[in-house]
């Protein structure tokens, strides 16, 4: 009897998993990405950014967000894409990671989507290793596909480099 009980419970959690999660969507080089909305602190337009010499290339610099210093990460470079053309302003999503704020620079920020786990899938194994490293999976949207970014892995590059 006691062995049956956990089985039932897993079944019920599975049912519970099929629920909606909200994502802030954004585009980089025409690809749609998503970050869980709860991790997002802010969405910013173009900002004045202070360059940080000697920093890893993906670190665009730092900026002042209401008195807090935020480190800006150029997601394009992080994903191995060419830098954004100078005439396109771009936008940023500010996320909190271990008590520090990071601003993820993307091409544009879209709406908040509520997605069901029915549409969720792991990344295809043929995807670029760099992309697979920083994403958790794919949502099939009606029009296109949304890649879910994993913030902590996205920010992990400097740690490995520094070590």
């Amino acid at each position: 009897m006691s062995t049956n009980l956990p089985a039932k419970r897993t079944a019920s959690t599975e049912v519970a998993v099929v629920k909606n999660e909200d994502f802030v969507t954004m585009t980089i080089a025409d690809q749609v990405f998503g970050i869980p909305v709860l991790q997002v602190q802010d969405v910013l337009g173009p900002q004045r950014i202070t360059r940080i010499p000697l920093a890893p290339p993906e670190v665009a610099g730092s900026l002042n967000l209401r008195g807090r210093i935020v480190t800006a990460i150029d997601v394009r470079l992080r994903l191995g894409l060419p830098p954004r053309a100078a005439d396109k302003p771009g936008m940023s999503i500010v996320v909190d990671h271990k008590g520090e704020l990071y601003s993820l620079m993307v091409d544009s920020v879209g709406e908040v989507l509520s997605l069901t786990s029915d549409d969720f899938e792991r990344q295809p194994s043929t995807m670029d290793a760099r992309w697979r490293e920083v994403s958790t999976g794919i949502y099939r949207l009606r029009e296109n596909l949304l890649v879910v970014l994993d913030v902590s892995r996205l920010l992990n590059f400097a740690n490995t480099e520094a070590a």
Partner: protein
């Protein structure tokens, strides 16, 4: 009320509150050492402070319970409910005394002898479940307590948690009858104000000190938030003022002006909540030292420098106790008695100096005394006694390493436990506390001259004034504290940047100032700035002065240093970042980092923390030696120990002649054979070529190389042996695989009869036999040819055991040369073995070691070495061997 007293009351009340909880936890987990040491420390602090404030009654109680706790900590006593109850009872006694103290500013008269006796009895291991028994049995109590106290304490198990108020009442009550017995206590006070029954009893928990209500504790996060908000407000204000300036007439002018002032004050106020001058933490010290001097019969002069240095409040809290401990230690253990000082030719009055200052993003606090310094021998004995290291390990340690042991838990060199210090509560706690806030503590001590502790604390939250500069289009802040002056440099001005081999320097008041290009250092821009007008920020780190080349200089600004994001922490050039008044983020340069990047290790030039660390490092890497790096033939760079090379020459190949089919050159009136490393080497006319000259006696040999690269100081570890003639093997030197050449091989190439001939110089027909004991194959390989060349018959063995084996097998030697640091039997032990009882007991022994301080020398002599030579000193070794042999011969 006296500030000191009120602070003491607040602090002690807090400590006792913590102790109540901790003791109960201890009872539940009697084996938790961290819990125990925390409790011990708190009681120790209470005791210590009482002593200095002249509160004998409190001190006595605290001392007695500390004794018991000390026994717990040393594992000599088990934590039993009875013991915990007793300690809780003593806390209650302390509480009730504190209550009276708060009201009357004096200790109530009375006597806690009974309690103390029971605590002492417990500490001595005579635990008794019934309180009555031990008191009666206790032999030492000078005036036996008039009436053994009955019950409430006795039932050991239960009511610990609920205890506080009940025993408190009991203790106070029981005090009253005893009062007359209190020997020197202010008798009138006793009768006049019999300790009032604690109001606590009536007011429930109202026994809480009312003083505690004058200050409130605020979560640091809250302050941090306030600070952020204020910064934001300041930025907004700045923007508004900016707008106002552009408008000639505005009705907002007056209210904005007011807003401006209020904001400034608010900002200042909020900052103040976090910042405190370090002098606040020192306020207690003069009194402490005075009383200490009195108690210890010493004359102590306490100097406090830099008391106004501001420190983050939280940091200050954390270093307060450590500082007090350290000053106490300096006064107690460090300084000698006046008579001793006079005998040593010092002034009667000992000096303890506290010095606080900012240095390159850190706050440095130095605590130094001119006392007797750390007694190395005493520390060693203690180390052995506590089993922290073996004798052999100690023998191989440098003084610095041994001194570090004072930071280990439970370590105190004070011969006796005084009420002042010496329970080993000190330095380990100090170190832990400082490391907790990311600081470091370094120790420098010279026996007989004094001890200096240097605490370095990062300045994470401190406010500094910084100079804002521009370079490569970016702005940076340089902490004003390390800026000495600014110089404008342009080609048409008085100062201009000159270059030596591309390295910029500046003539400044008849001195050459090394310059660092910030642009180049930070890899900004193209670095082509020769003709531009630039500014030079003359900065100082320790004693090292250098100039930082920047494009422009703005003004100074007060900034709040914020740590950089974790992903950027590895960039050593920045100590933090901050937000300027205009709202932009700016990186703060770390002059220390720049100095070390520019080649000068900041610590190397001044004698504090870094130097000590470096010495430690040097002592560890005892195989470091100077190596000459050169290139010859193909392949990897080659190296030879510099000590083997007599001179470096640059020879004009036109002067090379051939003699007996061998190239030779006239050198200092003699013919010197030239041996090329590269076998395919041909003499090319009209060229010059570098030559390493090896000389021995009046002979010399030139080793022809292609290019001399460098002389480096490095650890030489031959990693790959080789069969190639002339090479010892490969080693990593200056991060490159390098071939180490075998000088002996080339010597024989130059003079096939080199060895045979060499012996002729000795009048003695027989070769002197040398036994070489060294575990390092490299040194055996290095010294064997060297000694052979000098006319000795060398037998090399790799361990002391092997050497003793030779002794047993009947070999005889004229002299033994032995390394000191060897695995297995050390050189010292070997010497003792040789001297102790062997056929060799009269054979001279020469020690070979990288440590050659007078102390090492003494140690070697004691072990039985005849002489002591520093490794790598080839001339000294040869000279010593010659001396030693002729001396023994003369004696024989």
């Amino acid at each position: 009320m006296d500030d000191l007293l009120s602070e003491f009351l607040t602090e002690t009340n807090e400590n006792i509150a913590v102790l109540d909880v901790e003791l109960v936890r201890l009872e539940q987990n009697p084996n938790d050492p961290s819990l125990l040491s925390n409790i011990f420390r708190l009681v120790h602090t209470i005791k210590g402070t009482c002593g200095f404030l002249g509160l004998p009654r409190l001190e006595a109680v605290a001392h007695a319970s500390e004794n018991v706790l000390g026994r717990f900590r040393d594992g000599e006593l088990n934590v039993s409910p009875y013991a915990v109850t007793l300690i809780l009872e003593s806390l209650d006694a302390i509480k009730s005394i504190l209550l009276v103290l708060e009201k009357t500013e004096a200790e109530p008269a009375g006597n806690d002898e009974d309690l103390i006796n029971r605590l002492n009895a417990l500490a001595e291991g005579r635990e008794a479940p019934a309180a009555a028994a031990p008191v009666a049995a206790a032999p030492p109590p000078p005036p036996p307590a008039p009436e053994p106290v009955p019950e409430p304490v006795a039932p050991p198990p239960a009511p610990v948690v609920a205890a506080p108020s009940v025993p408190a009442a009991t203790t106070t009550r029981e005090v009253a009858p005893v009062a007359e017995a209190a020997p020197p206590a202010p008798a009138p006070a006793a009768t006049q104000a019999p300790p009032p029954p604690p109001p606590a009893a009536g007011g429930g928990d109202g026994g809480e000190s009312s003083l505690a209500n004058q200050t409130i504790r605020v979560n640091v996060d809250l302050l941090e938030n306030l600070m952020t908000m204020v910064s934001e407000l300041v930025l907004t204000r700045n923007q508004l003022l900016q707008i106002l300036r552009s408008q000639k007439e505005s009705e907002f002018a007056v209210p904005l002006q007011r807003l401006n002032h209020v904001t400034s004050e608010l900002q200042e106020g909020v900052m103040k909540t976090r910042m405190q001058p370090i002098g606040n933490a020192w306020a207690k010290l003069p009194r402490l030292v005075r009383d200490l001097a009195h108690e210890l019969h010493k004359k102590i002069d306490l100097q406090m420098l830099g008391a106004e240095t501001e420190l983050d409040r939280q940091v200050l809290e954390l270093i307060k106790d450590p500082l007090t401990h350290m000053v106490r230690n300096s006064a107690d253990h460090g300084l000698e008695l006046p008579a001793e000082r006079v005998a040593k030719g010092k002034s009667e009055t000992g000096r303890v100096t506290l010095n606080a200052f900012h240095e390159g993003g850190h706050i440095i606090i130095e605590i130094s005394d001119d006392g007797k310094g750390l007694a190395i021998e005493a520390i060693k004995r203690k180390i052995l006694q506590n089993g922290l290291a073996t004798e052999a390990e100690l023998a191989s340690m440098s003084d610095q390493q041994i001194q570090q042991f004072i930071f280990k838990a439970g370590f105190s060199t004070a011969a006796k436990v005084t009420s002042v210090s010496g329970r080993g509560v000190g330095m380990d706690v100090v170190k832990t506390n400082i490391e907790k806030i990311g600081g470091t503590i370094e120790l420098k001590s010279v026996e007989g001259r004094g001890t200096t502790f240097t605490i370095k604390i990062p300045l994470t939250l401190a406010i500094v004034s910084a100079l804002v500069v521009e370079c490569g289009g970016e702005r940076f802040a340089i902490p004003q504290i390390s800026v000495i002056e600014l110089v404008r440099a342009a080609n048409d001005s008085e100062h201009k940047i000159e270059r030596i081999n591309g390295t910029p320097v500046l003539r400044l008041r008849n001195r050459l100032l090394p310059l660092v290009s910030l642009e180049r250092l930070l890899k900004l821009g193209d670095g082509d700035q020769d003709n531009r007008e630039t500014f030079i920020v003359v900065a100082q780190v320790g004693n090292y002065t250098f100039g930082i080349i920047v494009d422009r200089v703005f003004d100074t600004e007060e900034i709040v240093v914020k740590p950089v994001a974790p992903i950027l922490r590895h960039i050593e050039l920045f100590s933090g970042n901050t937000i300027l008044g205009d709202g932009s983020v700016i990186m703060i340069l770390d002059p220390n980092g720049i100095a070390s990047f520019s080649g000068e290790i900041a610590g190397g030039v001044h004698d504090t923390a870094a130097a000590a660390a470096e010495e430690k490092q040097a002592a560890r890497k005892d195989d470091r030696m100077a190596l000459l790096l050169f290139r010859a033939g193909d392949g990897a760079p080659k190296a030879v120990p510099l000590s083997l090379v007599a001179r470096l020459e640059d020879i004009d190949l036109n002067q090379v002649e051939a003699s007996n089919g061998q190239p030779v050159v006239q050198y200092r009136g003699k013919l010197m054979p030239l041996v090329p490393i590269d076998p395919s080497w041909q003499v090319q006319r009209d060229k010059r070529q570098p030559v390493l000259v090896f000389a021995d006696g009046d002979r010399s040999m030139g080793l022809v190389v292609d290019e001399i690269i460098d002389i480096v100081e490095d650890r030489l570890q031959v990693e790959l042996g080789t069969e190639r003639a002339g090479f010892m093997g490969s080693a990593i030197i200056a991060d490159k695989a390098t071939d180490v050449i075998d000088a002996g091989f080339y010597l024989t190439q130059a003079f096939r009869d080199w060895f045979g001939n060499a012996t002729d110089r000795f009048e003695d027909e027989r070769l002197h036999k040398v036994l070489l004991v060294d575990d390092s194959p490299f040194f055996r390989n290095l010294l064997t040819p060297l000694l052979t060349v000098s006319g000795y018959d060398v037998t090399a063995v790799q361990s002391a055991d092997e050497a003793l084996g030779l002794c047993e097998s009947g070999e005889d030697f004229d002299v033994i040369v032995s390394d000191i640091e060897m695995p297995g039997m050390s050189g010292l032990e070997f010497a003792q073995a040789v001297r102790g009882n062997s056929r060799w007991q009269n054979v001279p022994l020469v020690a070979l070691s990288s440590h050659a301080t007078p102390r090492d020398l003494d140690r070697g002599r004691q072990a039985g070495f005849t002489d002591y030579v520093a490794k790598f000193d080839r001339d000294a070794l040869l000279f010593t061997l010659q001396q030693t042999i002729s001396e023994t011969k003369g004696a024989a």
